[in-house]
């Protein structure tokens, strides 16, 4: 069993899977590591054709355990009283969702319409035709809306 080859065959997919389902990159790397430590303990599971499926099953079980832990549900970092919390320090996806919803809600209806359209895969030309406005105006509104969203979410405007 060539662990190096197995790792490089399956790790990118496992890591992508875990990072999409965990609140922080560090948590994804840690859980990913745990999957491989378990795999090292049970090399027989990696020797067959079902290695990838087995690794994902372990990953899903660890994810379930992770989200069942009480501290995962109340993941709030203790903050220095004199420091503003940077965006990276609120990794809880529910927190981020609430913050982004709030930012979207602060946009004007015109700006929100072009953001909704682009976030649904619509091109500027299609949005312009649907709304009966010039494509350049759609682009301008989208550009300004992005800046406002970035500022609202704590990211410098472009």
């Amino acid at each position: 069993m060539d662990v190096n080859a197995l790792y490089h065959a399956h790790a990118p997919a496992l890591l992508a899977f875990l990072s999409a389902r965990l609140p922080s990159w560090e948590a994804a790397e840690d859980l990913h590591h745990t999957v491989w430590v378990r795999a090292l303990r049970q090399p027989r599971e990696l020797s067959g054709d079902h290695a990838r499926r087995w690794l994902f099953t372990v990953a899903k079980n660890l994810l379930n355990d992770h989200w069942r832990r009480p501290e995962s549900r109340r993941r709030k970092a203790e903050l220095d009283p004199d420091l503003p919390a940077p965006a990276e320090e609120s990794p809880d996806p529910d927190d981020r969702l609430a913050r982004l919803k709030n930012c979207i809600g602060q946009l004007s209806a015109d700006y929100r319409a072009v953001v909704e359209a682009r976030f649904a895969g619509e091109s500027s030309a299609e949005t312009a035709a649907r709304l009966g406005i010039a494509p350049a105006l759609v682009d301008t509104r989208y550009h300004k809306a992005k800046d406002r969203l970035r500022t609202c979410a704590g990211e410098p405007p472009s």
Binding site: A20, A28, P43, E122
Partner: protein, 331 residues
């Protein structure tokens, strides 16, 4: 924090490739959150099978290029389906998806993970294979056949002989299969042990390198730096915390202890490049951070919850790094 959704391409022709990159990259979770903020869940949500329709197989084999655009747009409006699709394509792991390029940063993260796995292998004990079920001995089978033959009629003798031969053949076949499984397990265990030995050697080599990290390094407190450079370097050194991810309570307690010693070094250093106000601030902050590391160390020693304590320590380090960088930038 950047918005993944703001990179959605304007050109519809680019949409399938862009979405494929999201599915195999590290940002799908963030993208899904951003899409949820704009497209609140609507019920009834379509099923993934309904969205993919007859293209489901083609998506696994050759990506999203053949998926009709309305289907791609449904996926964006229902981001939970994106996560479901990701799971499907990643587990299938077909050549097309495995060959999708990812960012250099993501590649570096994968390589970093391998280094950790190599190191961890040094301490891994391979679980022993379950005791194989031994086949009954051929002697017992032959005795049984003999007993049968002794009680049978002439016609039955012939049948018993056939049964006996069959049983012997069956027994030998099972014994051979057991031996083959034993050999395979022994080979697996030997290979795992070899991998562990190789990783252990790498670990020892790493340990032989000069020790000291973070604020315990000899060059942690440069004298010839400007104020901003000095504070930035303190932040850089503190970030070395993230270079190792201890997996056991013992290792985490040791790592926390090392960081805590660095805090002491920081507390007593002269900080020559800093004006008095900065020194005061740094020492006051240092006391707060030290208290937290002490608490966290006590926590992991008492409760042994490595994951929770490491997450708390990560948060503290990120906060102090941010504080140092903010102070450096403040002029």
């Amino acid at each position: 924090m950047t918005w993944a959704a703001m990179t959605i391409p304007d050109d519809p022709a680019d949409l399938p490739g862009w979405l494929e990159s999201q599915l195999v990259g590290p940002d799908l979770g963030r993208l899904a959150t951003e899409l949820r903020a704009v497209h609140p869940p609507r019920s009834p949500a379509p099923s993934l099978d309904a969205v993919l329709g007859s293209s489901a197989g083609a998506v696994l084999r050759s990506g999203l290029g053949g998926l009709p655009r309305p289907a791609l747009q449904v996926l964006l409006r229902h981001p939970d389906l994106l996560l479901e699709l990701q799971e499907r394509v990643l587990i299938a792991g077909t050549g097309y998806w495995a060959a999708r390029p990812t960012s250099e940063e993501f590649g570096r993260a994968v390589d970093r993970g391998w280094e950790r796995v190599r190191t961890a292998a040094a301490g891994v004990r391979v679980e022993p294979a379950p005791a194989p079920v031994r086949a009954r001995s051929g002697t017992a089978r032959r005795f049984l056949a003999y007993a049968v033959t002794s009680l049978a009629t002439a016609a039955a003798v012939l049948i018993a002989v056939i049964v006996g031969l069959s049983a012997r053949f069956d027994s030998e076949k099972r014994a051979a299969e057991t031996a083959r499984l034993d050999l395979t397990r022994e080979r697996d265990d030997a290979r795992a042990a070899a991998a562990a030995a190789e990783a252990r050697a790498a670990d020892l080599q790493a340990k032989a390198a000069p020790s000291g990290w973070g604020w315990q390094r000899a060059d942690a407190f440069p004298t010839g730096a400007t104020r901003a450079e000095y504070l930035t370097q303190l932040a850089d050194r503190a970030e070395e915390w993230f270079k190792k991810r201890p997996d056991t309570p013992e290792a985490l307690a040791r790592r926390l202890g090392e960081f805590r010693q660095g805090c002491s070094a920081l507390q007593f250093a002269a900080h020559a490049p800093l004006p008095e106000a900065d020194r005061e601030w740094l020492r006051e902050r240092c006391r707060v951070w030290s208290r937290r590391f002490d608490e966290q160390r006590a926590q992991v020693e008492e409760a042994g919850d490595t994951a929770a304590t490491r997450a708390a320590a990560d948060a503290t380090v990120r906060q102090l790094v941010t504080a140092l960088r903010t102070r450096a930038a403040a002029g």
